[in-house]
């Protein structure tokens, strides 16, 4: 039990002393995950809206598949991305393996279905409300999607934050495609795995608390900026 207390004090000192390693690792964690969330949102949010508005034959199947993909095992995604980016793989010439870009690619694959699925759920309800109005105004599909995306933006932020939460805490995939190289691809989660392997539980736990703190801070900032709590309506 003393280890947990040691972890809390370690975390405190790491943050207060502005430890340069910690700052660079935390910065890299944020950069990789924020980029992945932005890219994934650019794909997933319009896709979710499209799925809510559009009626087509295999829609049910597409939604079921999308929901199933939310549970993609990160290690498998990591292994596949590794094999694709390896020098012996089809995209080896790009020389992306063991770079932050490779980690971003893996995270985009992992969180895009999650964001798309949550976005679709939210926008479907909104669409039920807006359906008659938008049809009677004779809007195009594209206009309907735009309206849904704009009016549903608060729920979509929640979808993006869910993606952020999954990506920032992920370790299996980025360990494989990033390689946990010091000063290049080491992020908070892989550093925690490393320190646990060294038996330095206090430092590992300290980094863990920093990670949790970071996640809470990002969520608070986003919610503050989007003023979710100040207004009761869309």
């Amino acid at each position: 039990m003393t280890e947990i207390w040691d972890g809390i004090t370690q975390a405190f000192f790491l943050v207060v002393s502005f430890d340069p390693d910690l700052v660079s690792i935390t910065g890299r964690s944020l950069r990789v995950t924020v980029t992945a969330v932005l890219i994934a949102s650019l794909i997933a949010l319009p896709f979710g809206a499209w799925l809510a508005v559009r009626r087509f034959r295999f829609r049910r199947w597409a939604i079921a598949l999308l929901n199933a993909l939310m549970g993609l095992p990160p290690v498998v995604v990591g292994l596949i991305v590794y094999l694709l980016l390896s020098r012996s793989g089809p995209f080896g010439v790009l020389d992306l393996l063991f770079t932050p870009t490779a980690m971003i690619i893996a995270q985009v694959v992992i969180i895009t279905p999650l964001i798309a699925s949550i976005a679709h759920q939210a926008l479907r309800e909104l669409w039920a409300e807006y359906h008659d109005l938008l049809i009677s105004l004779n809007t195009t599909k594209w206009q309907r999607m735009q309206i849904l995306l704009w009016d549903g933006r608060r729920a979509l932020i929640t979808a993006a934050l869910a993606g952020f939460g999954r990506a920032i805490g992920e370790v299996g995939a980025i360990m494989i495609v990033g390689g946990n190289i010091d000063n290049v691809t080491r992020v908070l989660t892989t550093a925690i795995a490393l320190e646990t392997g060294r038996g330095d539980f206090a430092l590992a736990l300290g980094l863990g608390f920093v990670l949790i703190g970071l996640s809470i801070t990002v969520n608070l900032i986003i919610h503050g900026l989007s003023r979710t709590e100040q207004e009761g309506r869309w």
Binding site: I39, G89, G179, G197
Partner: protein, 266 residues
């Protein structure tokens, strides 16, 4: 939208590395020993070379070398290394330094391993199964050495009972498991001395010639992978066998105990 795109481009592109850098796959035992923290800054200073370490088991390190995903390897599994070079994946194999394996176990030593006179006796005693034995099980150099030691004592791993636990994890994780379970485990000395969670574990057997642990450097063969940085790998090899590396390796101590002995020949 433009600023967003610009930000994305910056975020993705700024990850490119500029200075001379070399990817070296090393074993978990080498990284856990802490020697890397001494050698890498010296290499940066003297060769102006950023060595990027990929810390994996020897088995995976050889795979990375085979695929051309790293420029060089620092591993410890002599027969697998020889096969790697013979099949044309590695340019040459150069012995750099050694330490030794040790058998760790709970302080009360339920299997009385400490009374063995040789490594083969110790492993026969371990196979009685009076306490669990944690195996790396990840095809790393330490795992290969452990399998060879069972074989030396004429023991078949397939016939072992439930006391034999294959964890499939790195050296540190295996030590954590052994420490938590009161189990025996084979480790290299450097990882053990640098391990923070020693708890109830202690050395129960050491000092047999069969426990010798040689680390070698292999540059990946550029004829198969023309993108590997063969020249930089050669520079690094020359440095590793040279005087400054010898001094750093031989003087690296933890709690007064020496971890590695440099034995490279020119």
């Amino acid at each position: 939208m433009k600023t967003l795109t610009a930000a994305l481009v910056w975020l993705v592109c700024s990850s490119a590395v500029s200075a001379d850098s070399l990817r070296l796959a090393v074993t978990t035992s080498f990284e856990n020993s802490g020697l890397a923290d001494v050698l890498l800054p010296a290499i940066k200073r003297e060769l102006d070379l950023n060595v990027e370490l990929l810390v994996v088991g020897t088995g995976q390190a050889l795979r990375l070398g085979q695929a051309g995903d790293v420029d060089a390897l620092l591993v410890h599994a002599p027969s697998a290394e020889a096969a790697f070079v013979a099949s044309g994946h590695g340019a040459s194999r150069r012995e750099i330094m050694y330490n030794d394996f040790i058998v760790l176990g709970p302080k009360n030593d339920p299997g009385q391993i400490s009374q063995s006179h040789s490594a083969s006796q110790a492993f026969v005693a371990l196979a009685k199964g009076s306490a669990p034995f944690v195996s790396r099980g990840d095809d790393s150099g330490t795992h290969k050495a452990e399998r060879a030691l069972w074989e030396n004592s004429d023991l078949e791993i397939e016939e072992f009972g439930p006391w034999y636990l294959e964890t499939g994890s790195g050296m540190g994780a295996a030590l954590n498991t052994a420490s938590a379970m009161g189990a025996y485990v084979l480790s290299d000395r450097a990882s053990w001395l640098n391990f923070g969670n020693q708890d109830d574990l202690e050395i129960v057997f050491q000092g047999d010639a069969a426990l010798f642990n040689q680390y070698s450097f292999i540059a990946v063969d550029p004829t198969r992978h023309d993108h590997v940085k063969f020249k930089l790998a050669n520079n690094l090899e020359d440095w590793l066998v040279g005087e400054s590396a010898r001094e750093l390796v031989d003087s690296y101590e933890l709690n007064g105990a020496r971890l590695f002995t440099h034995n490279a020949k020119f």
